[in-house]
């Protein structure tokens, strides 16, 4: 919170829980998303159940739309969503590769000599919170590495099970996430 009160003529004194700006696009997008998930879950297309779905989606989007989208929707949100979808197959491939590596380790009879746990530290260049969360969860999903902590200065500490698992961090994964979230 490096806000200088003198440089900010308009004080932002809204209560801390109202983080999200509530706008129509946020409600609309949440409603459409919820309705889609409802149709998937319900599987009944008679008017009665669809009316229940409309009611439930409206309730949820009234109650917690600002949890899902914390700022009004723009074109960037949709571009980010598509970039994220493009990033997923690569992530799955990486998870499969390193899962095979950890599988080999855990079946190996002399496992204790092969593993060499260490805590790596590096500073990420990703700016937005969402990109950092994606990066941290991708690291944790890739077997062999676990994000321990991300602090305020974007310092990541990662626990790696051996030298091979942690050698290409941040590297390729960070570059791809930066491209997906438009932070090149």
């Amino acid at each position: 919170m490096k806000k200088d009160a003198a440089q900010q003529p308009k004080l932002d004194l809204s209560p801390p829980h109202q983080e999200g700006k509530r706008s129509g696009s946020v409600y609309g997008a949440t409603f459409i998303l919820m309705m889609g998930v409802w149709v998937l879950l319900s599987g009944k297309f008679d008017p009665f159940h669809l009316a229940l779905g409309v009611l439930s989606s409206a309730l949820v989007s009234y109650f917690s739309a600002d949890l899902l989208f914390s700022e009004p929707l723009t074109g960037k949100t949709i571009r980010t969503a598509f970039g994220f979808l493009r990033y997923l197959p690569w992530l799955l491939y990486q998870i499969l590769l390193s899962a095979l590596h950890v599988l080999y380790l855990s079946f190996h009879p002399r496992m204790m000599e092969l593993i060499d746990p260490q805590v790596l530290r590096f500073r990420s260049r990703l700016k937005s919170d969402l990109a950092q969360v994606t990066f941290a969860n991708s690291i944790t999903l890739t077997p062999g590495t676990i994000t321990i902590y991300v602090n305020f200065h974007r310092d990541f500490s990662v626990h790696a099970i051996d030298r091979f698992s942690g050698e290409d961090l941040p590297g390729e994964m960070e570059r791809r996430i930066a491209r997906a979230f438009g932070e090149e």
Partner: protein
Amino acid sequence: MVIDLIVAFCLVVGLIFFAGGTLGLLRFPDFYSRLHPAGKLDTMGSFLVLLGLAIHQLFPLTLGTVLTGLKLMLIVVFVFLASPTATHAIVDAGFRAGLEPWRKGDPRR
């Protein structure tokens, strides 16, 4: 029966991942290294097993089975979101409780 072969392959590989995860959970030397097989190999295993089952129940192809298959994939999406978060929460708790990471040469705990 190509489909049955694909399903059986998915299930067997997924169960091998599960077995590796459990074995690692029992064999690895300390808290932090146990999290690697337990949290992540299980995620991969459940992905493969649920994918296989979703393909299996897709026949006969009706609207109901397609929706059930999509629901199975919804479980997979949920597991892929929730599992790393839970792992992160546990490892954070361990770090705050002051557990030392195991290094090469220490006795196992």
